[in-house]
Every structure is written in structure tokens, then in C-alpha cells.
């Protein structure tokens, strides 16, 4: 059980897919203009990551080594199709906002990367922990980035039609936050911050 939480925590901080491993960046930057959409994106990635980790880890004993990558991709693609159809049926507004990024979860480096690097070599229980940890690490960064951009870029934060925070009509936010360059620059600062944080933790542990 202790091991379970250790694996889970790894995904959140020390091996965070976005800020440390720097994989799966494309969707993060593109989707993080709206809090609602990126939260759903995070949930979708957690679902695909956990389910594909479980299945791949369960069949790892009789997966031939030579064709493992095509097998992984087909497994992942099936779960992505489930997400695609569920979002389209129940959350059409989110679906049209996310657009091409839902099918692109198939080639999201995080999912394939974890299948190859972790699930293929470890048991089912640990693979679940790894999937949840990595997925949460992704979701926290993307939702936080999106909340910041939506709140300060447009002055209000909405979720499924409800306005959570509103700065009022007089607020003129920096428009660049909502545009593409804002995402790059903001994310650069996020990485700089998280690297500094990790460096400090490492120094503390060394002492």
C-alpha cells in the first residue's frame, strides 16, 4: 500500500509528465483557454491512461515483444473512441470546444509513454496508481493554467454554464493571455517555477 502511494506521488511532482518529463505538451497549451474544457480534457486523459495501463499490464505476459507498439496503440485507440462518443453524446459543447484534441489523445505521448515505460513492466495495481498519478499531474497543471488564463484574460470563470467568479464589466484583462503566445510564455514561467521548486527539494534532501 505504501508503494502504491509512492508511485502515485511520483506522477504528481517528481516525474510530472508536463513540467519535468515535458511530454504531452501540445494539448496542454492548446486546450488551456477554458477551465471547463481543460478539466474535461484532464478527466478524459485520466480515464484513458488508467484503463489502458490496466489492460496493457494485464496482458503483458503474453504480448509478443515485436508487435507491442501496435497492440498498445489499438488498446489506447479503443478507449479514446469511448471517450469520443461519450463526450459527443452527453457534453456536446465541451466536445466541440476540444475538437481534434480528443482523437489526438491516441498519440498523446503521456499515454503511450506510460504504457511502454511503466505498465508493460509492472503489475496491475501499481499501473493503476501510475495512471492516476500521471493523469492527476497532467490535470492539475492544465486546469490550473486554464483557470489562470480564463480568469485574468477575460475577467470571469465559468463552469458548465455557471459563472463562478466575475470581475465585472470594468475589468480589462491582458488579451494576450487568451491568445497563443500567452500560453507559451506562461507555460515557460510555470516550468521555470517548478524546476526551481524541485531543485530546492533536492537540495533539502541532500543536506
Amino acid at each position: 500500500m505504501k508503494e502504491f502511494f509512492k508511485v502515485l506521488r511520483n506522477g504528481l511532482s517528481l516525474e510530472n509528465p508536463l513540467t519535468v518529463l515535458m511530454i504531452g505538451l501540445c494539448s496542454t497549451l492548446a486546450v488551456s483557454t477554458k477551465f471547463e474544457g481543460s478539466l474535461f480534457m484532464g478527466i478524459a486523459v485520466i480515464f484513458v491512461l488508467v484503463m489502458s495501463n490496466v489492460l496493457i499490464s494485464a496482458i503483458r505476459k503474453f504480448t509478443p515483444d515485436e508487435v507491442r507498439i501496435p497492440i498498445f496503440i489499438v488498446v489506447i485507440a479503443s478507449f479514446v473512441t469511448i471517450v469520443d462518443l461519450v463526450l459527443k453524446g452527453y457534453f456536446p459543447s465541451v466536445y466541440s470546444f476540444l475538437g481534434v484534441w480528443i482523437p489526438l489523445i491516441v498519440v498523446n505521448c503521456i499515454v503511450l509513454g506510460r504504457a511502454e515505460a511503466y505498465a508493460y513492466h509492472n503489475g496491475v495495481v501499481h499501473s493503476i496508481a501510475d495512471g492516476i498519478g500521471m493523469g492527476l499531474g497532467y490535470t492539475i497543471i492544465i486546469a490550473g493554467l486554464a483557470a489562470f488564463r480564463e480568469l485574468f484574460g477575460s475577467g470571469k470563470l465559468s463552469f458548465l454554464g455557471n459563472t463562478l467568479v466575475n470581475f465585472g464589466a470594468g475589468y480589462r484583462g491582458p488579451n494576450i493571455l487568451l491568445l497563443f503566445p500567452g500560453a507559451f510564455i506562461l507555460f515557460g514561467l510555470v516550468i521555470a517555477g517548478s524546476h526551481a521548486l524541485n531543485r530546492r527539494t533536492a537540495r533539502k534532501e541532500a543536506v
Binding site: I73, V100, L179, I191, H195
Partner: protein, 206 residues
Amino acid sequence: MSTLSQLALLLVGAALVNNILLTRFIALCSFFGISDNMQTSVGMSLAVIFVMMMASTATWIAYYGMLKPLGVGEFLYIPAFILVIAALVQFVEMYLRKYSPGLYRAMGIYLPLITTNCAVLAAATEAVKPGFFKMNMAYNFTLGENLIYTLGVSVGYGFALLSFTALRERLDIAPVPRALKGAPMAFIAAGLLSIGYIGLGSLFGL
């Protein structure tokens, strides 16, 4: 029906205004992964243009020739496209190794990597799925429009990748604050480059 000027607009729109790397964030992994070396960037750009043209033709034919007539296009397109792309890349690699060793060496390890390059799957999907490519054009491209569109996307990819690589090689020797050194600074530079691309958007009024 599309006139010549519409096709030209599609080409420029896909290559510059809706640049796949800098204004739509697709395929950023390779963008940041290999852009620290000019030689590898050139190899990757060539490989992407080459594979994307073939892959999107193959997926277009697979979608309209097989998936749609059978009525399964709606829920089988993701696995079908990725398998078509993976198989195609494998065949291209085998063919090149046998018949054109020079080209094979130039593209090197980038050929297999392209299977998981989001740009290829994105362009293939956008050609057949509604609403993903937001421009004043019908979404269901004909084969010819699809080819023009893919050419635009892949040339735009190469253009952005090469210009960013040149920028980054210079950035390595620039005096930047210690906290921003490396990856953070690369992101900020990409942000500034992307501001330039926004300017192009208003230039063509798209």
C-alpha cells in the same frame, strides 16, 4: 467546387495563418524535442512533408472508400487512421531502405517517430471530420483539396521548425537569467515567434 484562388487561400491558410505548430500547438513534442540541432530539424521536416502527403491520401481513401460506405466511419476512424498511418510508415521505411539508401539515411530515425507525431493524425482527421479546421471552407475536402491542405500544413511545419531551430541555436549563447535557462526560455521564444504568426492572420483577413 473550388476555384484556383480558393485553393491558394487554403494553402496559405494552412501553412502560415493556421500554422500547425505555432498557432495551433499540434506536434509540439517534436518541436521542442529536436529543435536544438539544425541538421536533425531539416531531416525531420523533410520526413514530415513526405509522410504526411502519403498518409493523408491513404486515410482519405480509407475513409471515403471503406469506412463511410460501411457506415462505421463515426466510431472506427481513430483506430483505423492510426493503423493506416503506422502501417504506411513501416512500408515507406522498408521501401526506402532497399531502394533509396541515401534518402533513408537522411531521414534516419525520424521516420518511425512520425507515427506518433500528432500532426499526421491531426491533418488526416481534419480532412474528414466537421468543424475541426476552422476556416471559411467546407470541411469535407475532395482528394485534391486534401492534398493541397496537407502540403500547406506540412510545409508550415517545416518552416516553423527551421526558423525556431535557428532562433534556439542563437539563444544558447545568449545571456538569459539563470532560472529561465534552457526549456523555459525556449517556450518564451516560441511565444514571441507565435506573436508574429498572429500578425499574418490579419494580413490575409482570415
